[in-house]
Symmetry: none
Subunit: 216 residues, 4 copies
């Protein structure tokens, strides 16, 4: 592509990456303007092809959204698998790594943006919400709940309700994700993002820890 300095070829053949490029472009625009306010032609232009070409890869605008969500679910599923492995170790350490893990994931804009889009389009595409709920939310919260339950059973955590506590753990992270950018609470690469995670961990650990387990 960049290797032909002569001129930009009108036709580019068999670019295997095309479908992904379309999704990337669509993601940027869906984030910026929402699904309904994004025109297919804009997606096309940003992906570097024509309006019609988009339809070679996806049969409709809605299909683009669906593919987008599916694509984002895959890496998360892997993270959830990783979560499973964490369960066997020390709950406290596991929780710490977990929050780091989520923090890193949510820092990835291409992954983090999806929930925001789903929140906006929930009413129009219920099946999207449902598949995200089943594959991400439920599995993620499930793993986290199990982890906390073990901590309670081992006496490392106070006798909290694991299900509800799990929401207290991820809540600030998700809220930060959804709102930080929008309300300019913190820019993406703010060093305070790191400090926010630390603060969260600090309060959480102290709030969960059983009497004798507390750090000074």
């Amino acid at each position: 592509m960049a290797s032909t300095p002569t001129k930009r070829p009108k036709f580019r053949r068999r670019a295997e990456a095309r479908p992904d490029e379309v999704l990337d472009a669509a993601l940027d625009l869906f984030i910026a303007r929402g699904f309904a306010a994004t025109r297919v032609e804009d997606i096309a232009r940003r992906a570097g092809l024509s309006k019609g070409a988009v339809y070679l890869y996806y049969p409709s605008k809605e299909a683009i959204l669906e593919a987008l969500v599916q694509r984002s679910i895959l890496p998360i599923a892997e993270q959830v698998a990783a979560l499973g492995r964490l369960e066997t170790g020390d709950p406290k350490a596991a929780l710490r790594s977990l929050i780091d893990l989520i923090g890193d994931g949510l820092a990835e804009p291409r992954v983090a943006a999806i929930p925001k889009i789903i929140v906006g389009e929930a009413g129009n595409f219920p099946q999207l919400v449902e598949s995200y709920r089943r594959q991400v939310i439920e599995r993620g919260l499930g793993a986290l709940t199990a982890l906390i339950r073990r901590g309670v059973e081992l006496g490392q955590f106070r006798p909290v309700d694991p299900e509800l506590a799990a929401r207290n753990v991820v809540g600030p992270l998700i809220a930060h994700l959804l709102l930080a950018r929008i309300f300019s609470i913190a820019p993406a690469d703010d060093p305070r993002a790191r400090r926010f995670l630390d603060s969260h961990l600090d309060i959480l650990m102290n709030g969960l820890a059983a009497e004798g387990e507390r750090k000074a």
Copy 2:
């Protein structure tokens, strides 16, 4: 319905409530389908008047959205004023009342829905975001931060960063608000909503409290 002329008169002269009814209708639909996917005609029908009449009260669809956000800001401003008053009391008790207050506010669907809409339309209406940020987010977080700072200064809270801790306080509440309904995590009138607040308070208080201040 039309047979009971008392309750809902067909001709209502100078119905002062009309603009508000339009906003109510718009709110319901914006939540359900998003701003772009909601037709002015639908708003009109739901508000019980004609398409044209909507334009007697609001010059454009966008103006309806703006009025909606403005209307939701007012009661929140009052809550924030109430927050100010709390600052003079015992920080711990104040924090407890505050979370109750927020919990109650967020349980009010007409108020709670606004942030969700703003999240969805942030890209298209930046001035909306900005005004919400200035009048709600900043003031709310500001008051909460001040409250925590006083708790730290008084030695009731551990030496946390008040600004960041404030986010830890509201984060789960906001996340719950934004996601619970969408992902069917909890139905609107779930008694667990109460227990969720309790759990949050419990962990928070233990996480924030200074050594000697902890409850058993």
Copy 3:
């Protein structure tokens, strides 16, 4: 309309005739260019309204075609009823009036054009064909067959197969209808149209009539 010499009003309210005007315009264009090659905008312009207004009356282009066919079926149903009444009289006279009747009907361009359109779109809209077949073709041929059968039974006609003979009766009329205009075989108001009917009747009567019944 023509009574306001000042200027053509931009908005015309509640013109009850609008839907019919749309059908008239569509009919003209479907005849001239076929269904697929006719743009909704052309229909609108010819009907004297805007593209969007067409959709106030019909939900889709296909619905226009369906309405068109339905509208043309009504008067034909009445003619078929009239056919039923003819059955009680003298078969020969009845056949004569019948051919006149059909001839008149087919001379009405708005009615006669429908079969031509159906022939062209048969593959794309099978349900259209089916409803036309049931309501027009079957009933028409049925009445005609009954009439001929009676003629045979009364000894006025030779012992022909009534079903097949019915096709011999209407065949030339339909062929004339479908082809005459297209192939410029005869202009619409050609006096020869009358003579064509006469010739048809003449040959037919002689071909059907039993020995003794023939005219010189």
Copy 4:
């Protein structure tokens, strides 16, 4: 299929039949869906080649239609020539053979479909209609008219108007052709198709025949 290299070789060098295969495919689809609703890609697929390859043989979709009509005109021209030869014989026998001939021709779907297509596209391609009219309709009707005129002059037929009578002769055949399949009046391989021709001949001969010439 691909495993038998004999029957349908994947690479067929200089396939002279290609253009004809394209026409065959196009004909099938034009009949089924009409010209406008048929995509070039569908024609290509049905003809067993790629979309681009179609354009190696025909410069445009319209050119395919034109070639189709031209191709169908050729054999008909020969039949018309045969008609000319019939003129010298006994008019009655000639008429009988003629109707058989036409009946056979019209039974050939690839030939019979053309008029149906022309009827549908008459408005969009007048030059197509014109060339068909000149080469098929006019010559065919001309020959038939001449044949009937001779019959009248020889006293075998009653003194009918030869031009109009010619239309009475072909009318039912054409009507049958255009409508039978569409309206399921008679399936393609119905044995009654033969009987329909017989009935037509029977009525026609009796209707045309002069007094003394009539069969019992």
